[in-house]
Symmetry: C2
Subunit: 334 residues, 2 copies
């Protein structure tokens, strides 16, 4: 009996939140590697807000997923067959293997991960693209300096929770914006943020006046929308806004809401800069080592929110992300 590879493919481009009809479920025989290739059995899939953008047509920082294609996803898997000199059966590997149970790879963009150093899901989060995004967005794009005031939105999410902890390690005052009391408590009591603002129950602009009396030097924005506009009113002179994402806008059906307070950039002589993590690929190894060091010293906590259910649970898992139901990195076990 040859095993079957179950897959989730993009069936149509969503308007607003992805619907069940936007996906199709297919199955194929497990692929056999050709020369220079290897096959993996996927263990964990990464769920990322950016996935929603990949489902749209048109030019972006990465090609869109085409209709009929297996949905793109970062994943870790174990090599089950290999004709590639760099990857042996039994190796654990990260790559954008896609939403399926098995995948082929020629090794491009793939790297081996060590489950004895950290649990596999961590390589999708803090020691993966999530951690890299936080690290380079904050330190390079955000040009973080010691003892500055840092605000991060989506603060209890995968990227935001790492951003805030790195900023604390760098000696900054850190304020997280998140939805709900439980997340906010986690930020201040477990992660050591200086303050947290619950945007579902607080006026963000007013709360910022209280917890950031010296205004905001670096704002790491994962959400866009009203929260971006609120922080724009509290910028310090020379502030840097890192545009990492805009999860509040990805499913907007009436067009993205632009930041109406953008002229605050002028008043504050501030900047707003976009970043894409893939640009930093040559420096990933160095950054991962540094983050792993902080984890080892107990300075940085990695939290993964692991969903069960395999491939068929993917559509609902993605919606949890947009509903803000996760704390830490949302991962689907295959």
């Amino acid at each position: 009996m040859s095993p079957t590879n179950h897959q989730v493919r993009l069936a149509s481009r969503p308007s607003g939140l992805p619907q069940p009809s936007d996906w199709s479920f297919t199955e194929e025989p497990v692929p056999t590697p050709g020369a220079g290739e290897f096959a993996v059995a996927i263990s964990y899939l990464s769920l990322d807000p950016a996935m929603r953008g990949w489902m749209n047509a048109g030019a972006s920082y990465i090609d869109p997923v085409e209709i009929g294609d297996v949905m793109r996803a970062g994943a870790v898997g174990e090599v089950i067959a290999s004709e590639h000199p760099g990857f042996a059966v039994g190796d654990n590997v990260y790559s954008d293997f896609g939403v399926q149970e098995y995948a082929l790879s020629d090794g491009a963009g793939a790297f081996k991960v060590d489950p004895s150093l950290a649990p596999l899901p961590t390589y999708l989060g803090t020691l993966g693209m999530t951690g890299m995004t936080a690290y380079f967005g904050l330190l390079d794009t955000g040009k973080l300096k010691e003892s500055e005031t840092v605000v991060v939105s989506g603060a209890a999410g995968a990227v935001g929770s790492v951003v805030g902890q790195i900023a604390k390690i760098k000696g900054c005052r850190v304020i997280g914006i998140a939805g709900g009391e439980e997340k906010c408590q986690w930020l201040t009591e477990v992660l050591g943020f200086d303050a947290a603002i619950d945007y579902k129950n607080q006026d963000v602009r007013r709360a910022l006046r209280e917890v950031a009396p010296d205004r905001v030097d670096v704002y790491f924005d994962n959400v866009g929308g009203e929260i971006l506009d609120a922080v724009l009113t509290r910028l310090a002179r020379g502030a840097r806004i890192v545009i990492c994402g805009a999860v509040s806008q990805y499913n907007a059906t009436e067009g993205v809401r632009g930041p109406a307070n953008y002229l605050s950039l002028l008043v504050a002589r501030a900047s707003m800069t976009g970043m894409v993590v893939f640009d930093y690929a040559p420096e990933f190894a160095r950054a991962m080592s540094e983050i792993a060091g902080w984890m080892g010293e107990g300075l940085l906590i990695s939290r993964e929110d692991i969903l069960e259910g395999g491939i068929s649970a993917f559509p609902d898992a993605l919606l949890k992300l947009f509903a803000g139901e996760n704390t830490g990195k949302l991962v689907l076990r295959i």
Copy 2:
């Protein structure tokens, strides 16, 4: 018979375009300088889009004009009486003397100008704050590099026309966005811009695809609104947007329109940075010398649009600016 000083004061804060009732006309005796002061008879007043912002309450990069105050304005005037060791009767001086016929100064922020080197109105434009804004916005905030593609909006205006000419001097491809065929012809035929887009009669986004096939490296934005959104769709990798102003939004009564396409900053790894010319005051003399040199070599043309009518013409003159009726620097002769 002692001469009278006619003044224009802010009577109320406008909603939308300033109305006649937002101004009051007053008169006072011409002031007499005390120790360390001098008095000027104002010759020319500068009209600037930024004036609209100064009329609003609330914190900005400069204090608002208070109700009942003489309206703030840059101006050049001739010293008619002096108790100040640095300024003698007959000197021509620039300062923010305000919308009036005579003014007192203690010399703070005032500097002498030489009418034998350039006509007095030029010191309100290309050799004044306008030219300084163009120079530092483009070269410092915009980090202009040789042979890049530069787009400037409000291109036939005071700042825009200088921005484009400096970019040409620096060896760049320059595209101006302006309203009307006549302005566009002036940009390409007289100022030497490589292309001009008439936003009143062309689709800016489509036109940019044609005239900026390699996309846009530096966008100097004077207008905001739809034009900012159009240029955001055409950014080159690593593009810099200079936020100098947003004349299309200053009179908005339903809130500023934020740039809905700001997520292009992420796709292009681009930045949007605000600038305020006053920050560069220590370097004004150097920049003015360089601009004067370019003017002397015939590389940079300064154009002033001089209105007659004195103080009482000020309210209408300001509206001409927001209607886009000027080409070059709008100045009111007193």
